[in-house]
């Protein structure tokens, strides 16, 4: 007989409006009457092979398809083939993967034997791309040149040029996964980023190299990274305050950092359930360079679906920058707070220590948010476009300040608890694919300290990471 079953390709990860990959449940296998006979029948997978390989090395792929051999009934074969197909696709080296399951042919064919064939189309040697990207309240055009599968084992070489409203950058990056364990990978990067930050009247150019090792451990994802960056700071405009002028010049940062991420959410943009825990620490100065500090920051988010399709979400962020030695901290290392993606109702990064209207950032901060997301009232456009929008009630609070490290932790906690800024309001959120979200909020800022710049009333925000 001919082909029994051929799976349609599922949409790949990427920016698209409409149906989201993670909203789709795993496809139900059609239960036709004649297949009931086969459901419980034992089968043996005799051959699994991959057609259409060019430069990809076979040994890389044997790991991904190995599971299929262990299936022992038809439903299992189909499920494991589907999983193997997903694994092949996530390597990022194939444009298309189709699965054919057929009865065994040939001399050594068993009566209940099956042949599984993966028909793959490799990506071209070099692909170009043009995207627009949304960062935190900034947009950029990104031109990319990618060489997927450079040496045949899913290595990827990417060159990217990005021109944005606040930053211009270009960079070269080489990514190599471990064969058989795609989640364990190493990447090397070289980049130059130039940014302009009008809230601080500061211009910053960073030229850096980094090496990063990522691997999963139990339920977490760990990343170890070394980074060396040459930072050049300068004043933006003639009216920069003297505090910013004081920070101008060159410095070298060589740091080791570690990050741990546990993400059980169903989506990173407007999740309905699950939680996120992200802990990051960076130690600079012990591998060379001028900057010497220890930087810690964390991010926690919890989500729960309530009645009537509404979601309650709580998040907490915090960070601490601890300098070593006598030198003061550099503005390029400090934290900033405020804006449509953190404490709404305040202008972008316009909170905390400042001098003549230029915000200097702070060495310690915390910020928390409580949100209630509900479907739009009266549910217009239900089932289609209307599902991308949510109404959103929020409460944000936080503080950003400098600490005198001679005092003890009691004094620090007290300082972070004084002068808390907070805000509340409501708005509309639009989800952009799986990548970004737009918000239009009406905000009421409270606890405003002198020197903070507020944006009470309507505030628009676009980004990928929101408090």
């Amino acid at each position: 007989t001919g082909t029994l079953h051929s799976l349609d390709p599922l949409p790949m990860q990427g920016p698209e409006l409409g149906i989201q990959a993670d909203d789709i449940e795993a496809p139900e296998v059609e239960q036709e009457p004649k297949q009931e006979v086969l459901e419980n029948k034992n089968v043996v997978v005799q051959r699994v092979h991959i057609d259409g390989l060019g430069r990809t090395k076979e040994d890389l792929l044997t790991y991904e398809i190995a599971e299929v051999f262990r299936a022992n009934n038809l439903i299992d074969v189909m499920r494991k083939s589907h999983e193997a197909r997903q694994k092949l696709l996530r390597l990022g080296i194939f444009r298309k993967v189709e699965v054919n399951i057929d009865t065994s042919r040939g001399e050594d064919a068993l009566p209940n034997g099956l042949d599984v064939t993966f028909e793959v189309t490799e990506l071209r040697r070099m692909t170009g791309s043009y995207n627009t990207m949304v960062g935190n309240n900034e947009g950029s055009m990104v031109l990319g040149l990618r060489l997927p599968n450079v040496f045949g084992r899913a290595e990827k070489l990417t060159f990217q040029f990005s021109y944005g409203t606040k930053e211009t950058s270009y960079g070269l990056s080489f990514f190599k996964p471990q064969p058989g364990h795609f989640e364990r990978n190493v990447s090397f990067n070289m980049y130059k980023v130039t940014g302009q930050f009008p809230w601080s009247s500061l211009r910053e150019t960073d030229r850096g190299v980094s090496a990063e090792l990522s691997f999963p451990m139990w339920k977490t994802n760990q990343t170890l990274k070394w980074e060396g960056v040459w930072r050049e700071l300068g004043c933006l405009g003639q009216n920069a305050s003297f505090a910013i002028r004081n920070e101008s010049g060159h410095s070298l940062k060589s740091s080791l950092s570690h990050a741990m991420v546990v993400d059980t959410r169903n989506s990173s943009i407007l999740p309905r359930k699950g939680g996120l825990l992200k802990i990051h620490q960076e130690l600079a100065g012990y591998t060379g360079g001028d900057a010497r500090f220890l930087k810690e920051d964390f991010e926690i988010q919890l989500n729960k679906t309530l009645y009537w399709d509404s979601v309650l979400s709580a998040s907490l962020w915090g960070g601490l920058l601890l300098p070593f030695g006598d030198a003061p901290t550099c503005i390029a290392d400090r934290f900033y707070l405020g804006g449509p993606t953190s404490i709404r109702g305040f202008s972008m990064y316009s909170m905390g220590p400042q001098s003549d209207g230029d915000y200097l950032g702070g060495e310690a901060y915390w910020a928390g948010g409580l949100h209630l997301y509900t479907p739009l009232p009266f549910r217009p456009g239900r089932g289609g476009f209307g599902d991308l929008f949510r109404t959103h009630f929020f409460l944000n609070a936080g503080n950003l300040c400098n600490l005198h490290y001679g005092e003890g932790p009691q004094a620090h906690l007290k300082k972070l608890a004084e002068c808390i800024r907070w805000s509340y309001g409501l708005g509309i959120v639009l989800r952009l694919g799986n990548i970004a979200r737009l918000e239009l909020n009406y905000c009421i800022p409270m606890g405003v300290q002198s020197g903070d710049r507020i944006c009470d009333g309507i505030q628009f925000g676009a980004g990928i990471r929101f408090l």
Partner: protein, 259 residues
Amino acid sequence: MSLAAEAFVSQLAAAEPWPENATLYQPLKEDQILLSDHASSLAVQAYLRMCGLPVQVLCRVNSEFMSPSGKIPFIHVGNQVVSELGPIVQFTKAKGHSLSDGLDDVQRAEMKAYMELVNNMLLTAELYIQWCDDATAAEISRPRYSSPYSWPLSKILAYQKQWEVRRKMNAIGWGGKTLQQVYEDVSQCCQALSQRLGMQPYFFNKQPTELDALVFGHLFTILTTRLTSSELAERVKSYSNLLSFCRRIEQTYFEDKSS
């Protein structure tokens, strides 16, 4: 500065008297500052002392990058930041302090001409010797310029500065000169200054002007800075009236200064 910018700065400057906490910024004296920067800084310090304006000298590693024009020295007075001798003279004039008010137009033109001579000859020669002479660049200039930074940033910044200065030297036609030619130029410049000074205490007889401050800054620095060879200092020393001029200004205005 453009005329409009000058007028604007003058308006702002005139509003407030000279504060007590005026500061002058330059690179670190012991380890970092180079001959040309030290000369420029000393010229400004001498000028301010001659005007009787108090200023505190602060040494900062990044003073070159803090300066609005990228050049040393600059002063921070009240809310304003002004760099280089020319604009600083304008700035103090707007506040009502000037050393050249007593000069007539002919003398003022002469003063400007001699200041141009010093900037075009002496300052350029100092830059040439520091960065275009391989021995001096390798032994003194690059190590000193890069001393506050760690490797490899130190190397990158030192070579970047060297390329920048050499490009500028080529652009103004000094790229093809030899060291001896540069020393000759210095001698000629000193001769012109020596002739103009004659036996007078200052260039314009009894009262010092900004020209005196500028010449003092450069000559004194040349005389007291150790380079790979002492030829530059020797050339200046051969003009005895310039030597006594420097000594006189040092004793009159810098006697409290510890070397």
